[in-house]
Structures are given as C-alpha cells and as structure tokens.
C-alpha cells in the first residue's frame, strides 16, 4: 500500500505501521518503503513517517541517509512548524555520519526568527551532544547564544541543554542571571522547574550563606525579618552586618509567586530553592504550599512526603502547625502511611506528644499490620527522644505484648528491648513478662531480643534466666540462626555469673553449636568456648571474659531513616532513592567570600516581555519595539544614566563604566578574576550589541531617517556641556570629533552616509577609565526618583546618602497628544513632562495635562476613570475638573509611577457623559532625574548598582553640529539629565 499513488492508502498503511511500533512489534523491514514517503506532501503521512524514522533510523543508518536531503529542504521552509519538526526529526535520527549536518542545522536554527524553532534547536543540542560528545565546544557556543535569548519559550529548553551539556560552565549564566530571574514567572512550567534547579546550584556558588547569623537567634529575629520584607521588598536589610546580595534577593523574591503554581513539580522546585538558599527565617513560607500538594495523587504525595520528612528533621518548627495534615487515614496506601508516620515522629515534642500518642493508639490497632508495626517503632522513637513520656510509652508497649497479632507483639518486643537498653533502670517485671512470652512467640527477631535482654539482665532475674536457658537448650536445633546466636550468648553470660546452675547446660549448648550447619554459629561457639571454659591454653583473655561479656553496652540510637538524606538536594531523584543517581549534580557549599557580583551586570539590557506577538508589534510600531529593548527591567535596582528620545539620539553606555570602575577600585578583592570576567563581558557585550544592532537595524534606519530632519532643526544653544558621558568623553578627548569615525569603523557598522555614533564603552580601555579626572562634586544625572529610593536602601555605609536633585537643565516644551479632539468628542488633551520632582510622591514622574474644550458646550466633570496600569505602576489622578467652558482650556498635573519602565499607563479620561481610553507612554529620558553628588558618592552608588538599567539611544547630528552645546542640547532634549561642569572643553560626542 505504501507504493500506492493514493495518499489515503499510504496513510492507512502508515497508521498500521505506527500501530505495530506502538505495540512493540518489529517493523524495520519496511524501512525502504517507508523512507520513500518522507517527501510526501500530505502532512499527516509525513508526520507518521517521521515517527517511523525516529524509531528505526538508528538501526538502518544507510537507508536513513536517503531522507536527509528532504529535511535539509524542510529546514528552509517558510512555515515555522515545518522547520521545527524537520529539525526535530533530523536531530532525533541518531546517525553519526550526519553530525556535521546537524551542527549546521542547529546553528542556523538558533538564529531563527521563530522562538519555536529556537526552542527546538535547544533540544537538538542535547540530542547532538548525546550522539557525539566531541561537539561540546561548538555546542557550548550555541548554548551561550541561546542563553541570551529573551523569549520565554526558549529559556527553559536552553537551560535544560546547559544542564546536560556543560553544567560546569557556570560562567555562562552570569550575564543571564537577572534576565532568567525576571523571566521566570512567564516561562512555561516545565522550563521553570529546570531553571529553578539550575539557579539553586548557581546561587550556592555565587552568594555567601545567609544562614550564618540567623542560625542561632532565629526566633527572635523572625519578626524583624518578616515585617522588614513586607514593608520594602527589594531593598536590603542594611542594618545588618550581613547584607544579602541583591541578586540573591531577586531570585528569592521572583520565585515566591511560583509557590502558587498548579504544577507540583514547580512548587517542589521552589520549595527546595527556599530550603537551600533562602535565609532560614524565610523558608517557612514553603510549608503551606507543600502541605497543599498532599491533596493530589498518591505519587505526588509520596515524593512530597519524603521531602517533608527530610525537612522536618532539621527544622521542626516549619511543619508543626500542619501536624494534623499528616494524620493517617485508613484508606492511604501503606507507603504513604509510613511516611506520614515518619513525619509525625519527627514533629513530636513535649507539647504535642500526648495528642500524638493517642493518635498512635488508633494506628496500632490498624488492620494493616505492617503499618501497625511501623507505629510501634515510632512510639519507641518518641519514647527515646522525649523522656517525659517514655514511661507511659513503655507501659503502652507492654500492653501490646498481650496483643493477639504476632507481628505487633514481635515489634513491641524489639522496641521494648531497645528502650530498656537505653534506660537500664529496674525493669525486672517487664523482663519476666517477656520471658513468659518466649513460649508463644515465634518471630525470630523477637525471640532473639528477649534472650538478649535476659542475658544482659541475668543478675536481676536470677531464677528465670537458667530456666529459660534450659528451655532453649531443648529447642536449640530448631531455632533460627539469629536465635541460636543469642542462646549461645545467654549461655555464656549465665556461665560467667551463675556457673553452678548452668555449667552443664552451657556445655551442652556449646556442643550443639559446634556441629551446627551455619559457620557463624560454629565460629561463635568456638570463640565462646575458648573464652569462658578455662583450660591451659587460654591465658590472659579468659580472665577478662566477664568484662567482655557483661560490659556496659551503649544504647542504640533510634533514628529516622531520613536523617542523612539532606546531603542530597531536595526534590531530586537522588534524594528520593537516597543514592546518587547518574548525572546528579552536587550542590556545592556556600563560598566563604562571595565571588565578584559585577559579573552579572549586563551592558545591553535586552529584555522584552512580548505581550503582543512580536512580529506584529514590530510592524505596527517600530519605535515602540526599539525602546522596549532598553528598559523593562529596571525594577530590580539600578544602574546609571541614560538618554534617548522618540526621534533618535545617541548612545551612552554608562552601565559599563560601573563595571569597569568596580574592577579597578581598591576594594576589589579578586582583581584578577574580575578582569578576566571583564574581558569576557566585553566580548559578550560586543556580540550582543551586534546582534541587537542587526535585528534592529531596520527599525533604526527608519528612525534615523525621521530623526535626521527633525533633529537638525532642534539645535538650540545652551550652557556648558557634560552629561553623564564625561567618562567616555575624556577617554577619547584628544581625538575629538574624528573619533567617532574611528569608533564607527571599529564597530564595523555599515553606516557611512550618516554620522551616527553608536558609542560602545566596551571598546574603551580600562586604562582610559582610570585616567578619568573629573572634578569633585559633579552634578551627575542619575536615576529616576524611585531608582534613587532603591539606592538609598542599598547604601550600606553611614556616609551621607542624601541626593540633591538638581534642577532640570532644560525643559522641552514638546507636548504629546493624549486625546485628539475628534475622538474625544470635542475634548482634546495634551500632555508633557515638566521635569519637576513630582509633588504626589517621590517615585512618581509628574505629567501635565492640558485639556481643551473645542466644542460649543460646557464639558462637565472631567476626571480620571478606570485605570489599567501594568503591575506595580501607580498613578495619582488629577482632581476632577468640574466644568470646562467652550474654547476654554485648563492645565492639570498628575503623577505616575512608571516603575522605571516605559510601560504604557492606560486610563480612562471621563467626562460627565463619556469615557475615553487614553495612554501615556514615557520616553526613557523622562524617567530620569538629575541629581548632584560627589564623585565619591557616585562611584559608591555605581558600585552598588546591579546593572541592567542602562538604556541607550542614538542621537543623530550632522557633522557640522559637533559643538558641545549642540550636543548637550540634543541630549537634554531627550532626557532629563543635568549638566556637569567639566574642565575639558572637548566633549566627545
């Protein structure tokens, strides 16, 4: 049928073949016939052929090669689904000859426009690696590239590939750490699990332990931390000598919402993250979520209970409030019951032990005898750990001795033996009682335990002991080996203490033992005989026989089987099995000294939350796309300056400088490593810049065209020069305007006609930086108000962190249309940014809105209606305008906290009769605030910044415009920055 011309016949045939595969029957002889159909036009046939190929290609390598060209063609298909599935199959048909083809395909796919294809590329990496580990180096390059990908779709898969191929290359993560943390919530759930596990490992190598000081005084500090965190999450606990790295905090904070996930694996992953890396006082939040998981399927319960068992040993307090959730139901499977019991035992303390024991009484009577036996052991453990109740436990256990069930009795005997051994008080009665049991009980362990007990305490029960020995001697041959050994021991002990009565008996037993079938028993017999029966040969040792046999024996410790499982990372397979599984990655110990945190700083922040399908957004609004690249992210804590406008602009890369300066600063401890990473970061910076440039170049070109015209006219004269970029300016000051060309060439960007200057600090030398000699007390334009607030929080030293907000150098009068009069039914609104500190709140940016009434009627009650703000954003609405006369206009001001992002604030502007939805989207430049501070302060702030908050933009100017004032004008036109007086007359760019 496969040869048929009709698709339908082929499809039917393929379905049957797949049916065979599914049942596990061999269908490999059909390979040649099937492989021909790989080029079928019918997508369903194609898919089934793929299924077949993946299954059998490994066995029929030569024939499989026939299909390769089809895949190569499909890899170029305009349909992303086809590209992706071709890559998927190509990489799945484990044929070593095609490794180079796969490599190429992966490289191409990793640069594909479709994130779906890139995701498949990430999967293909792992497949290729398992096929040919020699490709590792090349694959790492691809991984590095994909790690930079900002699509949430790719993140999980590439991290998976990273874990599989090069988990030791933790350095690849540095640059992407913050991005991953921030993306985490939006990544698909499976990716979340993988990323969280990887970040846990990362955190353990990169941050110092948060446990040191809150280990001791945990309780007393608890309140402090809690309130602290609630009040201002994100800022640090600065009063403490230990300050958590902001990145560390970022991770902990960003994973918290995931505890609410519906996916048990995600919840568990977050739980283990909290367990392993958060301060002990904060780990408590996970218990509630874990207890919630106990409601789901038995398999999930099983794993979760195991993990809780491990946790509950170390930190009882965490689960104590949920004690009752671990009560056992008669319908639970046995494995769940025993685990719950384990946890109950771990949680037992003086306060709750009586309730627990009452509960245990019910369990002991359970019909599930295995479980009843486990309960008895548990009671034993409670008794041994909580001395208050040991007596009542013991008497309870003795009662159980009269139970009718043998398993229960036997278990009780064993546990009682252990308890008595621990508390060698007078328990003659119990021993007598147990001796009587010997007649009835048949479980070997129990019999052995009783014999051992009598032997140990033979002096306390002088009458019974010989009698027991007599009985045992009678039944010796039919006893279990375990019991035989104990009979021998008992004999030996009695011989030493009471030789008159038992000499003959012991000798009889020893003789029996001599010819026993078990060599252990024969050995033991020989040993005991030599030791206790005096003869010529036995010299020194037999004198000490009594001491040897009747020495005080250390009591056994009743311990949880979960005691030492915590050396495995929680939530892992290894932890579940309590053995190291293949491919388990150890969780390293906290480093003594934190490695350089600046390695995580990123030059170009490329984070985009694609709320709209990316392609669409691009077409509709290139400008928007362009901007969004640079921001979004800043909520973390922040970096230095930046500029930009709607029309075009220029780039300043200050964040870089924070990195550079930290590397050269005296308090840098690991200069070498830092500079190494520095180099690396530069390389990556360059790369990423290029990638970005490439992808955006189209947009930029459009931009530039637009801006060229508008910009050149906007030149106005203005005061000195400056801007945050003086660091750069100095470094290349001698080259003056020419330098831009040089830079351009270095950059290798194909922009000849234009005098665009993409400035990229990563090209500057470190030395250049050191030579910076800016005057003290330069008013540095940094940070929007809320960033500043964050910074205040970050400031650890006692020196003044007062930030002087300097007045804006320039206020552009450019207004933006908020509501057009046509769509507003005559009400028009314009807004502009007055660049004044906002009166409504430090974090807010003030916005002035001018309302015009273009109708011939009064417009009444103009107010802000419903606000639709992105999370975190706040808005202080203007007070309602009661009425607006025809042709009248009124200006109102409002404050908006954009959270340092250029997200759009949408709200409704309502009149008495109508509502109009309007948006305000701030240019990045308006989010900044000029601030004056000393150079020292600046450096310090800068050092504390975590990067990520740098933005860039291009300013286009004609070559003849290169006077400082013109440039300054352009800069201030687009961004709210201040001017820095500088000794140098030359301004670079």
């Amino acid at each position: 049928m496969l040869e048929s011309n009709k698709d339908s016949a082929k499809l039917d045939a393929m379905k049957r073949i797949v049916g065979m595969i599914a049942k596990g029957r061999n269908a490999s002889e059909l390979f040649p016939a099937v492989v021909k159909n790989v080029a079928s036009k019918n997508i369903e046939i194609k898919k089934l052929v793929y299924v077949y190929l993946v299954r059998y290609a490994e066995e029929q390598q030569d024939l499989a090669l026939l299909s390769i060209s089809t895949f190569q063609r499909a890899l170029k298909d305009p349909n992303q689904l086809i590209r992706a599935s071709a890559l998927r199959v190509l990489s799945s048909i484990r044929v070593p000859i095609i490794v180079p083809i796969m490599m190429l395909a992966i490289k191409d796919a990793s640069a594909d426009l479709s994130p779906y294809v890139r995701k498949n590329a990430a999967h293909a990496i792992q497949k290729l690696y398992s096929l040919d580990p020699e490709q590792k180096e090349m694959l790492i390059e691809v991984i590095e590239k994909l790690l930079k990908d900002k699509s949430t779709l790719v993140a999980g898969s590439v991290v998976m590939a990273f874990e599989e191929v090069c988990p030791e290359r933790i350095d690849l993560i540095h640059k992407n750490y913050r991005k991953l943390c921030n993306l985490l919530v939006d990544v698909e759930e499976w990716g979340q699990v993988v990323i969280i596990h990887m970040l846990t490992r990362y955190a353990r190598t990169q941050f110092v332990s948060p446990w040191k000081e809150d280990g001791g005084a945990e309780d007393s500090e608890k309140n402090f931390y809690e309130s602290d965190d609630e009040q201002r999450e994100g800022t640090e606990r600065r009063k403490k000598p230990y300050a958590m790295d902001p990145d560390h905090r970022l991770l902990i904070r960003n994973t918290k919402p995931l505890l609410q996930s519906r996916n048990a694996a995600v919840v568990m992953a977050v739980a283990q993250l909290y367990w392993h890396i958060s301060p002990k006082s904060e780990a408590g939040v996970i218990s509630k979520s874990l207890v919630r998981l106990l409601r789901s399927n038995r398999e999930v319960q099983y794993i979760v209970l195991q993990n809780i068992a491990t946790m509950s040993i170390q930190r009882k307090g965490m689960f104590e409030p949920y004690l009752k959730s671990f009560y056992v139901r008669s319908t639970d499977p046995t494995m769940i019951k025993t685990l719950k019991l384990e946890i109950l035992t771990n949680l037992a303390n003086e306060a709750n032990v009586s309730t627990l024991l009452r509960e245990f009484q019910t369990y002991v009577r359970s019909q599930d005898k295995q479980f009843a036996a486990a309960t008895i052991q548990t009671v034993g453990r409670c008794a041994s750990s909580i001395s208050e109740v040991s007596d009542s436990c013991l008497s309870g256990l003795v009662c159980l001795l009269s139970s009718r069930d043998e398993v229960v009795v036997a278990e009780s005997v064993v546990v009682i033996k252990k308890l008595l051994q621990m508390r060698p008080a007078q328990h003659g009665e119990i021993i007598k009682h147990m001796a009587k049991l010997l007649d009835s009980i048949t479980v070997p362990v129990a019999r052995a335990s009783i014999l051992w007990l009598i032997g140990e305490n033979c002096e306390r029960v002088p009458k019974i002991a010989p009698d027991v020995l007599r009985k045992m001697a009678k039944s010796f041959t039919s006893e279990d080996d375990l019991v035989k050994l104990q009979i021998l021991n008992l004999g030996a002990k009695l011989y030493l203490t009471n030789s008159k009565q038992t000499k003959l008996l012991t000798q009889y037993i020893l003789n029996l033992g001599k010819y026993d079938q078990n060599y252990d028993i024969r050995d033991r017999t020989r040993f005991i005989r030599q030791l206790i029966v005096p003869n010529e040969k036995s010299g020194a040792l037999s004198k000490y026989a009594k001491k040897i046999f009747l020495a005080q024996k250390p009591a056994p410790l009743l311990e949880s089987p979960f005691k030492d499982r915590d050396h495995f990372q929680l939530g892992t397979l290894s932890h579940t099995l309590n053995t190291k599984a293949a491919g388990y990655l150890e969780l390293s110990n906290w480093p003594e000294v934190a490695p350089d945190p600046s390695v995580r700083n990123v030059e170009v922040v490329e984070l985009t939350k694609e709320w709209t399908p990316a392609g669409k957004a691009k077409k509709e609004n290139p400008a928007k796309k362009f901007y969004s690249e640079s921001e979004e992210e800043e909520d973390s804590s922040d970096s230095s300056s930046e500029s930009e406008s709607e029309s075009g602009s220029e780039s300043e890369e200050e964040a870089d400088s924070s990195e550079d300066s930290s590397a050269s600063s005296p308090n840098e401890q690991e200069g070498e490593s830092a500079s190494e990473s520095e180099g690396r970061s530069k390389r990556t910076a360059k790369k990423s810049w290029k990638t970005r440039a490439k992808s955006d170049s189209e947009d930029e070109e459009k931009e530039n065209e637009k801006s060229k015209s508008s910009d050149s006219s906007s030149a106005e004269s203005s005061s000195a020069e400056g801007s945050s970029s003086d660091a750069e300016s100095e470094s290349e000051s001698d080259s003056g305007p020419d330098s831009r060309k040089v830079t351009k060439e270095k950059e290798g960007r194909p922009k000849q006609a234009r005098s665009t200057l993409p400035k990229d600090v990563s090209l500057l030398d470190l030395d250049d930086f050191n030579s910076v000699s800016t005057p003290v007390a330069l008013p540095t334009p940094v940070l929007s108000p809320s960033l500043r607030a964050d910074l205040e929080g970050l400031n650890l030293s006692t020196t003044s962190s007062v930030i002087n907000v300097s007045s804006p150098v320039f206020v552009p009068m450019k207004t933006h249309v908020l509501l057009h009069r046509m769509s507003g039914k005559g009400l028009a609104a314009h807004y502009f940014f007055p660049r004044q500190p906002c009166i409504f709140g430090a974090k807010m940016v003030s916005v002035q809105i001018t309302l015009n009434n273009t109708t011939d009627q009064k417009i009444e009650n103009i107010h802000v209606g419903e606000k639709k703000l992105p999370a975190g954003m706040q808005m202080h609405a203007f007070s309602p305008v009661d009425s607006l006369e025809p042709e009248g206009s009124v200006t109102v001001s409002m404050g908006i906290d954009f959270c340092d992002s250029t997200q759009t604030a949408s709200f409704q502007l309502c009149t008495k009769d109508d509502c109009f939805s309007v948006n305000i989207q701030p240019p990045v430049g308006e989010l900044l605030l000029p601030v004056a501070m000393s150079e020292k302060d600046f450096k310090k702030e800068q050092g504390m910044l975590t990067g990520m908050n740098e933005t860039s933009a291009l300013i286009v100017a004609t070559p003849q415009d290169f006077t400082p004032s013109v440039i300054l004008q352009k800069v201030v036109n687009v961004a709210n920055v201040g001017a820095v007086p500088s000794g140098q007359d030359h301004l670079h760019s």
């Binding site: 339908s8 039917d12 797949v18 049916g19 599914a22 049942k23 596990g24 369903e44 898919k47 089934l48 793929y50 299924v51 490994e58 689904l81 086809i82 992706a84 799945s92 479709s114 999967h123 792992q126 949430t152 779709l153 698909e188 499976w190 699990v193 609410q260 996930s261 519906r262 048990a264 694996a265 568990m268 992953a269 919630r292 409601r295 399927n297 398999e299 999930v300 794993i303 979760v304 949920y322 009752k324 959730s325 009560y327 139901r329 008669s330 319908t331 499977p333 046995t334 494995m335 009577r365 359970s366 939530g571 892992t572 397979l573 579940t576 293949a582 491919g583 694609e610 399908p613 999370a871």
Partner: protein, 455 residues
C-alpha cells in the same frame, strides 16, 4: 529526561510503548513487575523504582500504569506531574482514558505523545495547543472521513470513535458546521500551522475563538476532609476548594472575579492565566481565560476557621469473642447543613478479614457486601431529617478466629448543592476587552473529600 514510556494494564501486559531517545528494551519493565508483585496491591507499587541502568517512575490511573523510563537525575515530581498531564490529555481527547480507547486511537495517541515531548523534555502540554496540532477524534470527523472515503475512517468508526471529547457532548449546529468546514479544509487530523498559542504569552488560549452564545460558568466546589473519632468529635477537618470554570467566550475576554470574603482563602494555587500581582494587591482574580473547561483556582481554607461538619454517624459495631455473630448498626444524620439537603450519601467500610458475610437491612437505599474484598457499601441517597436512614443487622464471623483488634472505619461520601461550606461567596464577575454581554453563572457545591469516621 524521559526516555521511554510504557503503558501497562492491570494484567501486566505492555500494550503501548513510545521512545523519545534510543530504544529501551521492554524487558526493563521486568523490574517493575517484580515490584508490583511485592507490593501485592496496585496502590502500593512504589512510584520510583531503581534498576541497574534506568529508573522507573510510574503513576497509576484508570487501572493503567504509566511507566516512564529515565536514565539520569531528574526531579521525580517533574516526571510524575508530566505523566499525570499525559493522562489528563488522553482524557480530554477521548473522554475516557482506558486501555481499549487508547488501543483504538493508537495513532492519535502516538502523535500526541510525539508533540508533548521532544527528546524527553515537555514541548507542548496545554491541551488547547495540542488540539490545534492534532485534532481529537470526534464522531463527526469519523463520519466525514467515512463519507469522503478517507482511510481509517470506516474501521475506527465502527469500533469506538463514538466517544466524544468532553464539552462537545451536545452537538450544536454551529459546532457541526465548524467541524465540517475544518475537516474539509484540511482533510487531515494534523494541523499544519504552529498554534498561535505556542508563541504568545497566553499559550493557554487559542485566538479566533467564536461562539454565538457567550457563556461563562463557574463551579465553586468544596471538599471536606475530616477524621471523626469514635465519640463523634472531630480530630482533623479542613476544607479544600476548587473553582472549575467552563468559559465559552468569543475573542480575547479579560475577566475579573472578586469575592465577598477573600480572606477566607488561606492558600491558593492558580491556573497560569491568573495574574498573581493583582491577587496579591487586591485579592481579585484577573485573567484571560483558556477556552473551554479548566480549573481556575484551588484553595485551602485556613485551619483556624472551625469547619462545620454537616453530617454525623451513629454507629454500634461489636464483635464478640466467643460467638460467630457480630452486631452492626449505623445511622447517618444531618447536622449544621444550613438548611440544605444532603444528597448522594454513600457509606462504605472495609470490614475486617474475619467477617464472612453480613445480613443487613437498610431503612432506605441499597447496600452490598463483597465477601471477597470485605467491602461494605451502602448507597443511601438523600437524607430525610425526619426519618434518619439506618442500616442494621448481623455479621457472621469466621468461627474460631479471634475478634479483630479494631472496628472498621467508615468512609462517607455526600454532596450538598448550593452551599459552599466555608461560606465563600463570589461577589462579581466582570469582563473587559470585548463588547458583548456574556451569560454568567455560578454554582456552589460541597462534597465530602476524605471523610472518615473511626468506630
């Protein structure tokens, strides 16, 4: 990650296997069978079984073991959760997840599995996306396939494809039209475009959804888990609730759901569509819903609130040492029901091994006793407060056997309509982003979860 998947039925046959990497011989399942034998009961088979070269992780649902074979370290919950998701998907596709259904739809199953995992790593698990990639079988498609003479149609049609996926049970003319057009257009069960959901930030929702009747139904279902001791006092009781939704709305609606008393909710877990920040700050559920049935939220009512137990059980079960007869009497009655009737009451109890048979007379409903499994179940139905239902009679015990240590525990199931026992109330549901007025409905129900009475 996940290497292979084996589906094993209760009699120990492997009836489906699928490999994502190199083929793992099915002999690896022998270790599983060994463990199964040791465990005696299917429930007790450990979910994680180590073998020399592989690890077997399994879930047991619908009397089928889903055994995943893995080779390297991986979070076990990851695999287990995924396997459960596979089962859910099958259920979604075929209505039930059973051996015959899987066997009959083996091609679809295979295609779905192929899409769900790539190289052992989950690729697409949202059923919305999967359904766009691989069309679920429907009666209609089979009909169309048969008429148009497409392959496979006749055979499958005659066998089991009468099963429809949940939600399309009532076939509306609109649906009919949609399915037909879709089948004609594509004439394949496989989608050839990447589902838009896969790329968007709302992967759970398809684009271009259209309905003539726009409806959104929410069911608030609460379950009481409780253990009641001999004397009738509550040992532990807690309420677990879920809100299941069935949303059939056109376009991209943005819904907000608010509660009268959100403080009740102590611990919640959300469908990924719920905006967490909004919940944190305002205690409002704001979301763009998936299309069709989904679980919006599951919650736990804080343990501090005393749980009202709506039923009580009076029991007297006694075994006597000497005689071969035991007495058995159970009465069920309502308590704290806020005026609602208790329905669907089902009492079941696992009797001790020594019980040979029982002769009982119920005052209402029917009862059965299985002498092999020793399971007694009594289907009571509605409880009439005027005339409490009771079950009385004698048990015949094995002669000579000692009396059991423990009286059997009694498990209770019941339902109360129109009542959320925690007192949770939905305040309002609003829709943004679309112009039309949807039809909204909210239903409350209280059920017994794991409700046990010790006797």
């Amino acid at each position: 990650m996940i290497h292979s998947l084996f589906l094993i039925n209760s009699s120990g046959d492997i009836f489906l296997e699928k490999h994502w990497k190199s083929v793992v011989s099915r002999s690896v399942c022998d270790y599983f069978f060994e463990a199964q034998e040791r465990a005696t009961e299917a429930e007790n088979v450990p979910p994680v079984i180590p073998t020399p070269h592989h690890y077997l992780l399994s879930v047991y649902r619908h009397k089928i073991f889903f055994v995943a074979v893995i080779q390297t370290e991986v979070p076990p919950l990851f695999v287990i959760e995924f396997l459960h998701r596979v089962v859910d998907t099958f259920q979604d596709y075929f209505g039930v997840c059973s051996e015959p259904v899987i066997k009959d739809n083996v091609v679809v199953v295979y295609e779905v599995l192929e899409e769900m995992l790539d190289n052992g790593f989950p690729l697409a698990t949202e059923s919305n996306i999967l359904k766009e990639l691989i069309k679920p079988p429907t009666i209609l498609r089979t009909v169309v396939n048969t008429i148009t003479g497409r392959p496979g149609g006749d055979k499958e049609f005659l066998k089991t494809d009468w099963v429809t996926p949940r939600g399309s049970g009532a076939v509306s003319p609109l649906l009919l039209e949609r399915v037909f057009s879709c089948v004609y257009e594509r004439s394949t069960n496989v989608g050839d475009q990447l589902p838009t959901g896969q790329l968007s930030v709302v992967p759970w929702r398809r684009t271009g959804v259209k309905y003539t009747n726009n409806e959104a139904y929410f069911d608030v279902i609460e379950e009481i888990d409780a253990i009641i001791d001999k004397s009738g006092s509550t040992i532990t009781a807690e309420i677990q609730g879920v809100i299941d939704a069935c949303v059939k709305l056109t376009g991209m609606p943005d819904l907000t759901l608010s509660f009268m008393n959100p403080r009740l909710l102590d611990d919640v877990s959300f469908h990924p569509c719920v905006r967490f920040k909004r919940w944190e700050s305002e205690r409002i559920l704001s979301f763009i819903p998936p299309d069709g049935n989904f679980r919006l939220l599951s919650y736990h009512v804080s343990a501090q609130n005393l749980v009202a137990i709506p039923v009580y059980v009076k029991h007297s079960i006694s075994f006597r040492d000497s005689s071969a007869l035991g007495r058995f009497e159970i009465t069920v009655g309502p308590k704290q029901t806020m005026g609602k009737t208790i329905e669907g009451v089902l009492v079941s109890s696992q009797m001790p091994k020594g019980v040979l048979n029982m002769s009982l007379t119920p005052s209402q409903g029917t009862h059965t006793f299985d002498p092999v499994t020793k399971m007694l179940s009594w289907d009571v139905g509605k409880i009439n407060p005027q005339k409490l239902p009771s079950l009385k009679g004698t048990m015949s015990l094995q002669a000579g056997a000692p009396k059991p240590d423990e009286n059997p525990t009694v498990n209770l199931q019941f339902k109360i309509q129109q009542l959320a026992i925690s007192g949770l109330k939905v305040n309002r549901l609003d829709m943004y982003g679309e112009k039309y007025k949807p039809f909204k409905g909210i239903k409350y129900m209280t059920k017994a979860g794991k409700f046990q009475v010790r006797t």
